[in-house]
């Protein structure tokens, strides 16, 4: 017997209506205002400038500051950096360690209102362009292996600019960051852009020469701690606790005595590196362990210049999907300065918590 079309249609209609009703019920509670909460998750991934976070957790510094403000803060490791930023953007994490360009192109361009509350460090040689023979001028027409659309890509663009070339003068080949060391070992790869710890391993290969690095553009590749703006507004104590954790930990790790050395060794272990390798990565990281310096850098006009460069690059690479101009994503800076669409600010450089740390008011 053939089931009649009508009865199937009826069943289909019923089956369709049910989940739709359930869904609208589930989705109607739109979070217009973030609730007051006491437990937060902050994601991090392995990078020299971010190792203070897991160390602070291990050493009890996180608990100390969280207790002070009656909070519980979980420092969560995410193995894959991009995944950590995506998890934050999807709302699974309240905060994340992220580079300035990625904060702009992933959460902020995705409409997630994000506040950068700690400018933790800038890459001062942690990112670099490596070539097997020849200088940067010889790069013209070559294939370059790198993680496309990452800070490496930005660094390449800046490097090419410095010798009067454009991105179109080279051919880029997207290469995963986990595979770039192996890729550079293969004879057909002549140029690669990478960051640490991979960069160090690649530099050690015979014939490799560092032709351009982030030390040539200091302060442009920033590493931030970003948190969800709505959550921060509802729970300002979160920002205070995080600032407290950061400056206590970085003060400890920059000490040249036994305790400072022990802290750095513990961080090296957490990063899966030897203390020597970790120290060498720290030497190419400009750490803002002094809150005053971090506030000064955040308030400086140079930050606006840097972010203008970064967003123009991001826009030119199509990272602001569907936007008609680089102004589509708004950014705000201390002192009421804005960049781009002031009505749609989704990335805020907020120096208030760093200031409290500088003034000893935490």
């Amino acid at each position: 017997m053939i089931v009649s079309i009508r009865s199937i249609a009826k069943a289909a209609l019923m089956a369709t209506a049910m989940p739709a009703v359930l869904l609208t019920a589930a989705c109607s509670q739109a979070p217009s205002e973030a609730p007051k909460r006491t437990e937060f998750n902050i994601g991090w991934s392995i990078y020299a400038g971010w190792m203070p976070w897991p160390y602070a957790q291990q050493a009890g510094i996180v608990k100390k500051w969280a207790d002070k403000y009656g909070l519980k803060i979980n420092i969560v490791q995410v193995n894959d950096y991009v995944e950590s930023v995506n998890q934050y953007t999807a709302g699974k994490l309240d905060g994340v360690t992220v580079a300035n360009m990625d904060a702009l192109t992933i959460p902020a361009a995705g409409g997630k209102d994000t506040s950068a509350i700690i400018v933790g460090d800038y890459s001062n040689g942690n990112d670099g362009i490596l070539m097997k023979g020849g200088d940067l001028k010889a790069i013209k027409g070559q294939s370059v292996n790198l993680v496309e659309l990452s800070v490496s890509h930005y660094l390449l663009a800046r490097g090419l600019n410095s010798v009067g070339m454009q991105l179109r003068d080279v051919k880029t080949v997207n290469t995963g960051d986990a595979d770039i060391v192996g890729a550079f070992a293969s004879p057909d790869v002549k140029v690669a852009v990478a960051w640490n710890p991979q960069l160090n391993a690649m530099k050690a290969q015979p014939g490799a020469k560092l032709v351009f690095s982030s030390a040539d553009i200091p302060g442009e590749i920033l590493d931030l701690l970003c948190v969800d703006t709505a959550t921060l507004k509802a729970n300002p104590n979160l920002g205070k606790a995080l600032a407290g954790i950061w400056y206590e930990t970085t003060a400890l790790m920059t000490r040249q005595d036994a305790e400072g050395k022990a802290a750095r060794a513990a961080m090296a272990k957490l990063a899966g590196a030897t203390p020597e390798a970790f120290d060498s990565q720290l030497s190419t990281t400009f750490l803002y362990s002094d809150a005053k310096a971090a506030v000064a850098a955040t308030d400086a006009p140079a930050l606006v210049t840097t972010m203008t460069r970064v967003r123009d690059f991001s826009f030119s690479k199509g990272l602001f999907k569907g936007a008609s101009s680089a102004d589509a994503v708004g950014m705000s800076f201390p002192g009421g300065k804005t960049l781009g669409d002031a009505q749609r600010v989704t990335l805020r450089f907020d120096d208030s918590f760093m200031k409290m740390a500088a003034d000893g008011k935490l």
């Binding site: 079309i5 249609a9 989940p19 609208t24 659309l149 179109r168 293969s186 790869v189 569907g322």
Partner: protein, 271 residues
């Protein structure tokens, strides 16, 4: 009437089959719309409109840098890699599988080696492949071949060696030599099985293709997906995944059709 006896007509089958798919689409659209009501720039569940918009740029607007239509260049590159990989694997399966299946000394010599290679997870070999073969097309095709060929070889060898012994004996009594047994008895019966083996290998072949493209590439379907993953561009990822699914289904259907057309005897009386 009992459900086990209810036969569904052709029209009904199409309709019933469409229901769960439409339902899923509906659930998706409702969820996407509700997310967009909260955040109009949401990237995680893009609306169909924004997917169409990003895809039309990839479909019809040439890339500034290369001058290619990105989507078609990706599809062509991926299908080429897949095709070469499948072609080499099929040829290997046929030649090696026949030899292993028909000739016991060959089976004794190379059987363990094929089994040994078959149990190595191909992805674990990737770093070695890169060093040995470089990052170009060769290593991508090699990954596909290493991934699927051993399984196909074993399948064909097992099928051929399980052919009724009587057939071989009969051929021998009629004066055939080993070569003739292989070509006239085993080969025709291995052919439909070969097409079947390709169908089963298609899924893994796609996995290895996408993995290879994710690691180092400048064009390809997998390359695009892993590239835009960096900034959570679901409006490109989802249509690409749907396109891969469509391509895979089309290939599977084409192989089934071919098998029915070329070897109707292998598909029972109803065909």
């Amino acid at each position: 009437m009992r459900w086990v006896n209810r036969q569904v007509g052709r029209g009904g089958r199409v309709l019933l089959g469409a229901v769960p798919i439409l339902l899923l689409l509906l659930v998706y659209i409702v969820m996407a719309a509700s997310r967009h009501a909260v955040n109009p720039a949401d990237k995680i569940l893009p609306l169909p409109g924004s997917m169409a918009e990003s895809m039309s740029a990839l479909l019809f607007v040439p890339d500034q840098l290369t001058g290619q239509l990105v989507f078609w260049a990706d599809t062509l590159a991926s299908l080429q890699r897949l095709g070469i990989g499948l072609g080499i694997s099929t040829l290997m399966a046929l030649v090696v599988g026949l030899a292993l299946g028909v000739l016991p000394p060959v089976r004794a010599t190379f059987g363990p080696l094929v089994t040994g290679i078959a149990v190595i997870p191909p992805i674990a070999l990737l770093p070695i492949l890169f060093i040995a073969l470089g990052l170009g097309e060769t290593s991508k095709v090699a990954l596909i071949v290493i991934g699927i060929a051993p399984v196909m070889i074993r399948d064909i060898a097992a099928h051929v060696s399980a052919l009724p012994r009587e057939q071989v004996i009969k051929a021998l009594t009629l004066g055939a030599n080993s070569w003739q047994v292989m070509i006239r008895v085993a080969l025709p019966q291995a052919m439909p099985r070969l097409l079947h083996a390709i169908r089963l290998a298609l899924g893994p072949a796609w996995v290895f293709l996408i993995s290879a493209e994710a690691i180092a590439s400048d064009v390809g379907l997998g390359y695009r997906i892993f590239l835009v993953r960096r900034y959570l561009s679901m409006d490109v990822i989802l249509p690409y995944v749907a396109w891969i699914a469509l391509l895979a289904i089309a290939m599977d259907m084409a192989l089934t059709f071919l098998s029915h057309r070329l070897f109707p005897w292998a598909h029972g009386e109803s065909h």
